[in-house]
């Protein structure tokens, strides 16, 4: 009998191998270990489901399932579009089980993509303004007219040497590096990301330590998880993280959440710490001090990988440069950060902090930590919040370990594209002003102030899936700037849906939602590398049905386009004969002299730049492009491991020179890599060799992409560029520190997200709107009692520049002395504007009197007739308040990050106040800007080498070395 069963098992194994070789599914999920309800991939081309509404009749729906990538947040989760084979319409979106990051799971925003596609209010045709800018009169134009007009402007600016008047301001990231390469092909330094209102400060903390600006926490294998706020884990883009955190918790991991607010994440925590806002770094340092004083840090890791020797030489030249001496110094460095000190700063109990520190001390190398925006994005010096969190990982040796946190770039793969234009030879002073030489990203939120000060104008300003009027602080300054046709001569809004910013555009050009465009993505979500392919699903469905589609507009609704084809076409029209040298970067290699198609673009990448993909595709008898069109994702590697510990190959050791600190340099050329993920670019040696590794215990290892090749506990960059007091991880008191608040002021937390909305783009998702549509002000019962407000009462929240009127929500989910109001809400459209979104945008009046602006609600949302019968069922009227309008700009002088927290006064609304009212004094807004600007230490003062910025630091669209030089007049002052 046993032999019989073994033979049977052998037959099953053989059948399984045969099925796998055909790219089919033998077990849908390994024996229920994973989700098992996905359609087997071999049936994706013709998937049959029964119509539940037709029951008990058996009515079949036949679908072709097309994978794509969600566009609603940055996680790039996989979606499967169920395209009806009869009507060629998308019926629903579910998860793509072949996606290594999201593993078939989605948050609510993924399936709600369907709402965005079928939104009755969406923009379907190119529009050009017909009246004054902002007047709300539009005329439909053809793509040719729009392209020719914009291309002529761009060409003139480029030819006339006014390339710095071209700026493209990006919201939701598209394909990694695509827009940068378009601008590089134009020779323009015009890339302007939104990152300085987003994650710059969080990135800075990582970048100074590791040379890489994002963390990749191996949550699933962690023993202890430390989350700073809930931003990534249950708020904004969270699905791939949350599912792995839950895996870890199911395995018994301990979850520590530091969040002033009782967030979704905090409700899952084993230890929830609700500190005073801005005190987070003090908590980190108290835990670090505990590890140091009790000797429970990973001394061997610190000895091998920290740049302690460099620190001793720079700051303690009197000490012997030995590790023992460093340990001695280290014991004193953080001694003042006791639990009692952290308790006094944070308002938490010292014993509680000690308990948590003990948990951390027991984590060993399985300590996964994450900080992205939250406190880092909210406080003056917030970049030290993430830097002090990395200190905990670095002390424990939990860097690039199983269950630890990896430098993000090691878990990311950006394939080399078909064309890589050279670095632009110019420096855009509007995006990268001299005042902020260490800014992690463009000073995008200061643009109105820069233009007002005469640093412009902008001839062509693109906002691409971005809504700065609503999203950025100081929105009335944006409105003023966009209304001024001298400051911004042509504003082109590339957007799938109406936004507050699009109302102030000259052209509104409809770009596709996630299932209507191509992009390639890769994100750090575990210790592995994957790519995910966003594709216009109806185009692919038509092609599967045998139709030839040469332009995504042929498959998209109306005249909605995709950006890749748009940028290629626009570039051709700028340089139709190739004389400017632009066209060649958008030209076919297969058929020189013709436009590059998206087919060829991606076929080239998949055939040449993604290791393992051609072989995997061939095993299924597919081309690499066909494979990606079929599965939508590909895992290149899993278990990347500790890259810094990898030995440097002998072939790279040509004319090797190792400096006294162990940094190794070589003359061997950098090996060709198909992965062009950006990392720090440390300088070579004086003899012209490039850095190749670092000598550790006699071994030549790859190390980190920092100048020292090690983890830079001590940052010579910060010390040399004017901030020696911050060269070590330390605690900077926030601009909302109690010592800086008046007795009647409170702290407003304004940045927290809801898992069911995404900035302003999801307002056209009826399912999401029904779930979440308002943002009351969270007030602790103690404060509510003191202020004499009850639940639902109107309150006035006053900032330095104005006030907004909102409803109170009395809850113990927030600390006393702190109030909170969520992101996403308070959407509006100028009353009389015939277009716009109707489910979440209420009409308002915008009134201006000299420097004073007011926004007053002029109606509510409600049911309305449209092509979608559900719009007649809208039951909500309260869509919240647009609080960001009353926030002045707070640029951090080091990271450049806007520091979001606000010191506010809260009191009951006054007679005549209406819910949603907003009033702002622009002169006060400008005064606040000037006050924060005075904190900056400009390059012309602090640059140690006559350049604008340390070249080794990451920078989107890095210009040439020459462009880094400060202008001659300035340089003469700095040497």
């Amino acid at each position: 009998m046993t032999q019989d069963l073994d033979a049977l098992a052998g037959r099953v194994s053989a059948a399984r191998d045969a099925v796998a070789r055909r790219g089919e599914t033998f077990y849908p999920g390994p024996s229920r270990v994973h989700l098992a309800a996905f359609p087997p991939k071999e049936r994706w081309a013709d998937w049959v489901e029964l119509d539940s509404k037709a029951w008990p009749r058996r009515r079949e729906h036949r679908y072709t399932l097309v994978p794509t990538t969600c566009f609603n947040c940055e996680s790039a989760c996989g979606l499967l579009a169920y395209v009806d084979r009869e009507t060629l319409q998308v019926r629903k979106f579910e998860g793509n089980p072949e996606h290594p990051g999201s593993r078939g799971r989605n948050c609510a925003k993924g399936p709600a993509t369907l709402n965005q596609v079928t939104d009755p209010d969406r923009i379907l045709y190119p529009l050009k303004r017909a009246g004054r800018r902002g007047e709300g009169r539009w005329v439909q134009v053809g793509w040719d007219q729009a392209l020719d007009d914009i291309a002529a402007r761009l060409r003139a600016a480029i030819v006339e040497g006014r390339g710095n008047e071209i700026v493209c301001h990006l919201g939701r990231p598209g394909e990694d590096g695509f827009t940068e390469r378009v601008l590089a092909s134009w020779g323009v330094d015009g890339h302007n990301s939104h990152t300085n209102v987003c994650s710059s400060a969080g990135r800075a903390g990582w970048h100074y330590w590791t040379g890489i600006d994002r963390p990749s926490a191996d949550f699933a294998n962690a023993k202890v998880i430390w989350l700073l706020s809930s931003h990534l884990e249950t708020g904004h883009y969270f699905n791939p993280h949350a599912q792995r955190i839950m895996d870890a918790r199911a395995r018994g991991a301990t979850l520590i959440v530091v969040d002033t607010r009782l967030s979704n994440t905090a409700t899952h925590a084993d230890h929830w710490l609700s500190p005073r806002p801005g005190s987070e770094a003090a908590i980190h340092l108290a835990v670090a001090n505990h590890l140091i004083q009790t000797g429970r840090y990973n001394a061997d890791f610190v000895r091998r990988w920290w740049n302690w020797e460099q620190y001793l030489l720079a700051c303690h030249p009197d000490r012997e440069p030995t590790f023992e001496a460093f340990q001695d110094v280290l014991r004193g460095l953080y001694a003042e950060y006791t639990f009692e000190f952290a308790a006094a700063e944070s308002g938490l109990d010292a014993a509680r902090l000690r308990t948590v520190a003990e948990v951390v001390a027991g984590a060993g190398t399985r300590f996964a930590s994450h900080a992205w925006r939250s406190a880092a994005a909210a406080n003056l010096g917030g970049w030290q919040v993430s830097r002090t969190l990395v200190l905990l990982n670095a002390l424990l040796g939990a860097v690039a370990t199983e269950g630890g946190t990896f430098p993000g770039a090691w878990n990311k793969f950006v394939p080399r594209p078909i064309h890589t234009p050279p670095h632009p030879g110019t420096w855009n002073e509007v995006n990268w002003p001299q005042e902020y030489p260490l800014a992690m990203n463009e000073m995008s939120f200061l643009l109105p102030h820069m233009l007002r000060e005469g640093r412009g104008p902008l001839d062509v300003y693109f906002t691409r899936v971005y809504n700065p009027v609503w999203t950025n602080p100081d929105g009335f300054s944006w409105i003023e700037t966009l209304l001024d046709e001298e400051q911004v001569r042509c504003h082109v809004a590339l957007t799938p849906t109406w936004s507050e910013t699009a109302f102030f555009a000259d052209y509104v050009l409809p770009m596709g939602h996630g299932p209507e465009r191509h992009d390639l993505h890769s994100y750090e979500q575990y210790d592995g590398q994957w790519i995910a392919f966003r594709q216009p699903v109806l185009r692919t469905a038509r092609e599967r049905a045998g139709a030839a589609v040469t332009d995504t507009r042929q498959a998209n609704p109306g005249q909605v386009w995709e950006e890749n084809e748009f940028w290629i076409e626009l570039s051709w029209r700028i340089d139709p004969d190739g004389a400017l040298g632009i066209r060649r970067h958008h030209e076919s290699r297969r058929t020189p002299g013709t436009r590059l198609t998206v087919e060829e673009y991606y076929a080239h990448i998949f055939e040449h730049s993604v290791p393992g993909l051609p072989e995997r595709a061939a095993a299924e008898g597919l081309s690499p492009l066909a494979y990606m069109r079929r599965y939508g994702a590909f895992e290149i590697r899993s278990g990347v491991g500790a890259v810094h510990e990898q030995p440097v190959p002998v072939a790279e050791c040509q004319d090797l020179h190792v400096d006294p600190a162990g940094r190794a340099f070589t003359r061997a050329p950098r090996p060709e890599s198909s992965n062009i993920v950006p990392v720090g670019d440390p300088p070579g040696d004086a003899a012209g060799r490039r850095p190749v590794g670092v000598e550790v215990d006699g071994e030549l290892l790859r190390g980190f992409p920092t100048p020292s090749g090690r983890l830079e506990f001590y940052s010579p960059t910060l010390a040399d560029w004017g901030w020696p007091e911050y060269a070590l991880p330390t605690y900077i008191r926030s601009h909302v520190h109690p010592s800086r608040l008046a007795p009647d002021e409170m702290v407003l937390l304004s940045t927290f997200r809801l898992p069911t909305q995404i900035h302003t783009r999801s307002a056209n998702s009826k399912w999401l709107d029904e779930i979440a549509h308002t943002n009351p002000v969270w007030i602790h019962p103690e404060d509510a009692g003191r202020l004499r407000v009850g639940a639902g009462d109107l309150v006035r929240v006053e900032t330095e520049i104005g006030h907004f009127v909102a409803k109170a929500w009395v809850t113990e989910g927030i600390r006393p002395g702190v109030v909170a109001c969520s992101h996403h809400m308070g959407r509006w459209k100028p009353s009389g504007q015939p277009d716009g979104q109707n489910q979440m945008m209420r009409p308002v009046s915008l009134e201006r009197e000299a420097d004073r602006w007011r926004l007053r609600p002029a109606g509510t949302v409600g049911p309305y007739a449209s092509a979608d019968p559900d719009t007649a069922r809208i039951w909500w009227t309260d869509v919240g308040v647009h609080q960001n309008l009353v926030f002045p700009v707070h640029p951090d002088p080091v990271s450049g990050m806007h520091c979001w927290h606000q010191a506010v006064r809260v009191r009951p609304a006054e007679p005549g106040d209406a819910f949603g009212d907003i009033a702002v004094d622009q002169e006060r807004a400008r005064a606040v800007h000037r006050r924060w600007l005075a904190l900056a230490r400009p390059a012309e003062t602090v640059s140690p080498d006559g350049t604008r910025r340390p070249r080794w630091l990451l920078r989107p669209l890095k210009p040439t070395v020459e462009a880094y030089r400060l202008p001659t007049a300035t340089r003469s002052r700095t040497g």
């Binding site: 046993t2 069963l5 073994d6 049977l8 024996s31 087997p40």
Partner: protein, 303 residues
């Protein structure tokens, strides 16, 4: 345990059959099973005999609870994340298959090998054998041809393991700490509630059984969950219904004993429980004033 190097695949495949209404066609073919109608799969594994250990071992006959927690605990002890439904038969067979494969690794050290042996014995004796034999007995009765053959094959495979894998010294917790048998409660309703919990009664009564009972007794069947349907039968003719239930208990005990599925120790527990239930129901019928109807099959006579 020789000759089991690739046997893990067999367990996974057997699990997939009860898990998937429409498995890949090569899967049942490789097992030598005829293709099954997806509707028959749904009828059997969703509507009649849900393949979860907890449904057959818990005190209330419901899903989840302690039996499911016990299995989840084993996953955790082995350093693995428990699946969403750890006590589903496919999960258990998948886990068992994984342990079989891991145990066959020639590079395995002695200590790790010993752990795997214990884990394998635990899954087999503590999590499969306490309920799978009785469950498969009913599948063989209620399933179509394909699922009958699947049940026979799975039983054969389990029998081979019973021979190969030594039982732990103690009876499994599911037996050791089994919920109480139907007691001498004066309230017939409480007794009848226990009848529908196999862990207490030793009898697996499905919706189809109740429909058959109604037809046999000439009573009306009210559509609804089992308790509701049973109550409706009792409301119409309590004596006849209780008598029929007693007969079902006896019939199942006899069938289980005859099939050989009671030979592994946990199976004997089921037979004993079923006979006790039969006796208790008969006593209840007497107490209700109906007496033991001579026409009712007595213990061991039902078939």
């Amino acid at each position: 345990m020789s000759g089991t190097a690739s046997r893990g695949e067999l367990w996974r495949a057997l699990g997939a059959i009860c898990d998937q209404a429409a498995p890949h066609p090569l899967l049942p073919a490789a097992l030598g099973l005829p293709p099954a109608d997806p509707a028959a799969h749904t009828e059997l594994f969703v509507l009649q005999l849900v393949p979860y250990a907890s449904a057959y071992l818990s005190a209330d006959g419901m899903l989840g609870g302690e039996p499911a927690d016990r299995v989840a605990g084993l996953w955790r002890v082995l350093g693995m994340v428990p699946p969403a439904e750890p006590d589903h038969l496919a999960s258990l067979l998948g886990l068992y298959g994984g342990l079989v494969d891991a145990g066959a690794d020639p590079a395995l050290g002695e200590a790790a090998g010993a752990v795997l042996v214990r884990a394998r014995a635990s899954v087999l004796w503590e999590h499969l054998l306490p309920w799978a034999p009785a469950y498969l007995c009913r599948v063989a009765e209620l399933g179509g041809a394909a699922h009958q053959r699947w049940a026979a094959l799975l039983w054969r495979a389990l029998q081979a393991e019973v021979t190969a894998v030594a039982a732990p010294p103690e009876p499994p917790p599911a037996v050791r700490e089994a919920p109480p048998a139907l007691g001498a409660e004066p309230d017939p309703r409480r007794v009848l509630a226990g009848v529908l919990a196999p862990g207490r009664s030793g009898v697996i009564l499905t919706r189809a059984d109740l429909a058959r009972g109604a037809a046999t007794l000439g009573l009306g069947l009210r559509l609804g969950e089992r308790r509701y349907a049973l109550q409706a039968l009792l409301d119409q003719d309590p004596v006849a219904t209780i008598g029929w239930l007693a007969a079902e208990a006896g019939r199942f005990a006899a069938r289980l004993a005859r099939s050989g599925r009671a030979r592994p120790a946990p199976g004997r527990f089921w037979v004993a429980r079923a006979r006790a239930t039969q006796a208790r129901l008969l006593a209840l019928a007497v107490a209700a004033g109906a007496g033991a109807d001579a026409a009712l099959p007595g213990p061991g006579r039902a078939g």
